[in-house]
């Protein structure tokens, strides 16, 4: 099977990665020699970024979005980015002979984790991005400049800029920034929640605009410091059907090359771009049903998740430091949720009101409620080395009403004793070894909370996991399950601290422990299948989907999965994770469902 877990692949050595970078650099220099170099300097957040294009092919495609941020060429740049394509230069980019497993969804190349050399390959534009943090040299390469999609033309070199600015202590964030008189609002959240429409409506009504998709955040210390959002691109993207309105307002518009593609139209903001805004509030939008746009309190962790998750899902090598940065940013200004009204043209007015008095419009989040009770079940087998940390990550939750049930599944080590050290906060149940599904089911019979969640003994939760899930249940009361993403982590050998491995969009999407459940859903779907030692989570979700259980997926990290030598799934392929037995059970259920009721087993016919 080709689907070996890529996290298990052996890492390439730092020397190999440096050799590859140097080979790519030699190819870049050759491309420049073939067709000549064209330099453009950008001035962003006080840094001089030199783009060195091989010929004009790539410059023609990308400079429209960058031109307003250009400065006269001069002096030594802070970073040099070499940009070229093979088609116009006749130069080949050497490849490091990676298997197809190594190309992750986010772009990180699995096995390439040199602390010095950053590398990524993006499927959305088939670009290779390389950056040497020591020399301050980056490369952007594609096969053919003519085939660059609209999102790359609207926001070119995003990954390289992210790597460079992260080393300058700044953080790119997936968000829009608009404002008045130099003061701005940062609008964060995933795609499709109204960021671009809000930002473009604001700029159409004369507000300042520093970005609709990505901006660069800088935190400056001191009395006069604060949070700045710097523009990276003088462009915005909209659905092609909306583009005409902006054309009539005088903006340059580039329509998608093909009407049947999913590409958006690009609106070029030109000189109307505002290079920097002092951010006075951070909001995450949601669509409301009222006519007017309102603001509401929202948990700090959820605002941070709204900003950091899409950022981390898109920017290669973007790790926990991005979450920490955005946390610090949110601690400097009022934050909350923007409930977008139906009257889009009134949104800029609401933003102006917010900017006049952000502290009043968005008062601080109240202390978290002490109800409802959430039961957390930890199935544990010989987990003495890790279970203490798992329990502590539950006790550290920002939601207080929690009961912890550890089901010791026949351990022969000190699992039960370690769990019991946490006193009355933890109930320990012992059973003969029967597997994680049976242990979870045993815990369920003892659970008293209206909500239930599961955590494996070697994994952890982020501190806001329960609170974020409860807020998601509040937003969609008919939801029966809230499912977040899993984030792999491992312990840094040098300093003992956890480091994130790859992105949460590159992990198994159906982890029981990344979810939270209404306890009542188990009456409908039933318990975990105790016959399955692997894949019982997939099996449960599959049964739940079949019964049309309302599963709300959220863009947030619901689980931190520890990578270590003893992982029960380590070294396994999906052949093990999706065993034939699981699929066979599904087939049997399907046949039973198709059969006339008289032919069904009695147990089904009586349901």
């Amino acid at each position: 099977m080709r689907y070996t877990n890529p996290a298990d692949l052996p890492l390439r050595s730092d020397a190999e990665q440096l050799d590859f970078f140097d080979a790519a650099l030699a190819a870049s220099e050759n491309a420049l020699k073939q067709v000549g170099a064209i330099d453009h300097d950008l001035l962003i957040a006080g840094k001089r970024v030199r783009l060195r294009f091989a010929g004009s092919a790539m410059a023609r495609q990308t400079m429209c979005a960058l031109e307003p941020l250009c400065a006269p060429i001069g002096g030594d740049p802070d970073v040099l980015l070499m940009v070229w394509d093979s088609a116009s230069t006749g130069t080949v980019m050497p490849a490091p002979q990676l298997s197809n497993l190594c190309f992750s969804q986010r772009g990180d190349l699995w096995t390439f984790r040199s602390p010095r050399i950053r590398s990524a390959f993006h499927h959305w534009d088939y670009s290779l991005n390389l950056y040497d943090r020591e020399r301050g040299i980056g490369m952007f390469w594609v096969q053919n400049a003519a085939s660059l999609p609209s999102w790359t033309r609207a926001a070119p070199f995003r990954t390289l800029l992210h790597w460079f600015f992260a080393d300058q202590g700044m953080q790119m964030v997936h968000g829009a920034a608009v404002g008045i008189a130099g003061d701005g609002v940062l609008i964060c959240g995933p795609g499709g929640v109204g960021k671009s429409t809000t930002a473009l409506t604001a700029v159409a009504q004369g507000m300042d605009f520093a970005g609709d998709d990505y901006v660069l955040l800088e935190l400056t210390p001191g009395e006069h410091g604060g949070l700045q959002a710097h523009a990276l691109y003088a462009s915005a993207k909209v659905h092609p059907a909306e583009a005409g309105g902006f054309q009539s307002l005088g903006f340059d518009v580039a329509m998608p090359r093909s009407s049947d593609s999913a590409e958006k139209a690009v609106i070029y903001i030109g000189e109307k771009i505002t290079r920097s805004l002092s951010i006075r509030a951070i909001v995450t939008p949601r669509f409301g049903s009222a006519r007017e746009t309102l603001f509401e309190r929202y948990a700090a962790e959820c605002v941070v998740a709204a900003a950091s998750f899409p950022t981390r899902a898109q920017l290669p090598h973007c790790g926990a430091e991005a979450i920490a940065f955005i946390h610090r940013a949110a601690s400097t200004v009022p934050y909350g949720r923007m409930v977008l009204g139906q009257a889009v043209e009134q949104v800029p007015g609401a933003l102006r009101r917010l900017l006049r008095d952000p502290a009043t419009v968005l008062p601080p989040d109240q202390s978290p409620p002490s109800t409802p009770l959430v039961s957390v079940i930890i199935p544990a087998f010989n987990a003495g080395a890790f279970i203490g940390e798992a329990i502590e990550s539950i006790l550290a939750q920002s939601h207080g009403a929690v009961e912890i049930i550890v089901v010791d599944d026949g351990s022969t080590d000190d699992t039960a004793a370690v769990a019991a050290r946490h006193g009355g906060a933890v109930r320990v149940i012992r059973q003969a070894n029967a597997g994680p599904a049976a242990a979870r089911n045993r815990g369920l019979t003892d659970a008293r909370g209206d909500f239930v969640a599961f955590l494996d003994a070697d994994d952890l939760w982020p501190n806001h996991k329960i609170r974020a899930a409860l807020l998601a249940f509040e937003d969609v009361p008919q939801a029966e399950v809230v499912l977040g993403h899993s984030q792999l982590f491992e312990i840094d050998k040098d300093n003992g601290k956890p480091i994130f491995v790859a992105s949460p969009v590159d992990t198994f999407p159906w982890s029981i422990a990344a979810a939270m459940f209404r306890r009542s859903v188990f009456e409908n779907v039933g318990p975990f299948d105790e016959d399955l030692r692997f894949g019982e989570d997939t099996d449960w979700f599959e049964r739940a989907e079949h019964l049309r259980v309302n599963i709300r997926k959220i863009d947030d990290i619901g689980l931190l999965v520890r990578r270590h030598a003893a992982n029960s799934t380590r070294g396994r392929t999906v052949q093990n994770i999706y065993p034939a037995r699981l699929v066979h059970k599904r087939i049997v259920r399907q046949r039973e469902a198709r059969a006339p009721s008289s032919q069904r087993p009695m147990s089904d016919a009586h349901q």
């Binding site: 689907y3 980019m93 490849a95 499927h123």
Partner: protein
């Protein structure tokens, strides 16, 4: 032929052969004659050899069964569960078992694609980089 083992897992469970194609997210069940044929194909036999060996078996209709056998093998190939092997092994045709021939059935399911189909399958081009669509 051989299993398309880059993408396919096949395993017997309770007397049925369960084949999962992780590239397409589709999964399949085979029973009885279908499993026999599957095993003969993987042992290197072709349709002609199987027909020759099964002719005379109870229930094997020389007028219809060969076409249905061919259609079954075509489905296995179309679903990329098996791929032609570069060098077929040379095994002698199996003798017809005592049980009567029943035309093979490939039961097909695609309702778990969201869970079974993992990452998009990335094709690496000759230059070593993922290939952009033409």
């Amino acid at each position: 032929m051989r299993i398309n083992d880059e993408n396919v897992s096949a395993e017997e469970v309770d007397g049925e052969l369960i084949a999962i194609n992780f590239a397409t997210g589709r999964y399949f069940a085979m029973q009885g004659i279908a499993i026999e044929i599957w095993n003969w194909l993987l042992a290197g036999q072709n349709v002609e050899q199987i027909v020759a060996a099964q002719t005379g078996r109870a229930g094997f209709d020389p007028a219809k069964s060969p076409q249905r056998l061919q259609a079954f093998v075509d489905r296995l190939l179309a679903e990329e569960l098996v791929v032609p092997a570069a060098s077929p092994s040379r095994t002698s045709p199996s003798a017809a078992p005592d049980t009567p021939w029943l035309d093979p059935v490939l039961e097909e399911f695609d309702d778990m694609a969201a869970m079974l189909k993992l990452d998009p399958v990335i094709d690496i081009a000759v230059d070593g980089w993922p290939a952009a669509p033409a």
